[in-house]
């Protein structure tokens, strides 16, 4: 396995400054995001961990150009985001595979939207399915696959145009623990091999520490970033790293942050 590609400290792929997002509702305005500052360097793996309703998905949607910020600024690769950026793949919590396409054709769907070269996309889709152990299922339909296999296919769909940036919105949240561990390993392997910039959203503390170079902690009501920690653990990380003292120091620290915020209660 190749060594971790060092993030390039000098280039920020995603730059969020003093960002705020307010939703108007009948019972008054709801502040989903307040004063968010987050800079993600090229090739870096950053996770945002926080409770439900802290606005982490909203932040991701803003970066993906699916929602607009109410205040502050947001740049992707030096360009203010006005529509969905190029060179960015997205994986959602639900796999969003369509029933009427085979797995291979599902993987190709986004590249068709982007009008990517068909032959190239096909070749890459086949390679990706191979990489994620789905080669034998290319001509199957989504309902014939397990949840983990479906989510793997949706990751392939996000990667088929070889985007430099990958946004992942709780991609493994609906999977069982063992499948989730397996996919964490496969995601790390893919990331080490390609050096993509990844923003990963989760409410799993251990998952965030395991995968990330940095972990941002978010709190709710209003949604703000409380702290960003560096995770200094060697790569590639094996699942057993989770039992090491170095690892548990990080998870314990994050847990303490959530305890102090009252999001976790130790009674």
């Amino acid at each position: 396995m190749p060594a971790a590609p060092a993030p390039r400290a000098d280039i920020a792929d995603i730059e969020v400054r003093a960002a705020g997002k307010t939703f108007e509702s009948e019972r008054g305005d709801v502040q989903a995001l307040v004063d968010i500052d987050l800079s993600i360097r090229r090739g870096e793996f950053v996770s945002i961990v926080g409770p439900s309703g802290c606005g982490k998905s909203t932040l991701l949607k803003c970066i993906a150009g699916l929602e607009r910020l109410s205040s502050g600024s947001l740049e992707v690769r030096g360009k203010a985001v006005s529509e969905s950026p190029d060179d960015m793949g997205i994986v959602f919590q639900r796999d969003l595979l369509v029933d009427w396409r085979t797995i291979l054709d599902n993987v190709l769907l986004v590249s068709e939207f982007r009008r990517y070269d068909r032959a190239k996309a096909r070749k890459r889709a086949v390679e990706l399915l191979e990489l994620f152990g789905l080669a034998d299922y290319a001509t199957r339909y989504p309902w014939e696959l397990s949840g983990g296999m479906r989510q793997r296919a949706s990751i392939c769909r996000a990667l088929v145009d070889d985007p430099a940036m990958l946004l992942m919105d709780e991609p493994f949240g609906a999977l069982d623990a063992m499948t989730r561990d397996q996919l964490n390993i496969e995601l790390q392997r893919m990331w080490l091999a390609t050096g993509k910039t990844v923003l990963f959203i989760t409410h799993g503390i251990a998952e965030a520490v395991f995968l990330s170079d940095r972990v941002a902690v978010m709190s709710r009501n209003p949604g703000r970033i409380i702290e960003i920690i560096d995770v200094d653990l060697p790569r590639p990380r094996a699942l057993s790293v989770r039992e090491t003292p170095a690892f548990t120091r990080y998870t314990a620290h994050l847990r303490d942050v959530f305890l102090s915020l009252g999001i976790l209660k130790d009674e």
Binding site: E83, S84, I90, V98, D99, W100, F113, W143, E144
Partner: protein
Amino acid sequence: MAARKSAWYARSLEVALVLAASILVWEVAVRIFQPKPFILPSPSSILAEFWHQPGYFLEQTLYTLATTMGGFVLALILGFVAAVGIVYSRFLERTLYTLLVALNSVPKVALAPLFVIWMGTGAEPKIAIALTIAIFATVIDTVLGLRSVEPELLNLAKAARASEWHVLTKIRLPSALPSMFAGMKLGISLALVGAIVGEFVAGNTGLGQVILQAQGMFQTPRMFVAIIILGVLGTVLFYAVDWLERWLLPWHISQRGAAITHGA
């Protein structure tokens, strides 16, 4: 697959047996109680009536089939265009859709005499009535289908900057197909009703006219022949759409259970 097929044969055999038994009971009852033939003819006399001039009945059936299909296909095309318009235009949604739903409560049969005044006694008013009756089902189910798309799927398309055309053809339409087929199954049966109503009101061809003319001359066996043909025709048309759905949408949710056993 094999299990499914043999289950189908078993079911068909049961239906055929029950039907044959009912016809036998009918025949025997008529022979014992001897009701007046114009009240209740025997199955054998109905069959004889058909056998007497099968060409005539075939001709009338084809005419009714043609007007039914004419009305149905038009309902499908116009219904589809209207539904796409309603889904994409707030204005059409507020006006056309509201009007359609309101108009649906008018008994369409009442429009038949009006159509005869407008279009004469040929096939046109019959097609028009079949269309008017069938189109509500196709419009409403197509609108429902086009709207039933998962919002997250639209986000996926938007994030990839998909064109409206791609969203329509690659997401909305395929998502809508199961619902559209539900509308088509209803629509084809309604189109047949419309064609018959049209034939009742005017003209001198079609199974509706066969029934009406036979009534005038108390030729009850002839009425039964026409009614039975209509029953067969309606069933065949319904299953034709059903078969088309299975063929075109093997992925459709109602077929999923079968597909999984098939795959295993």
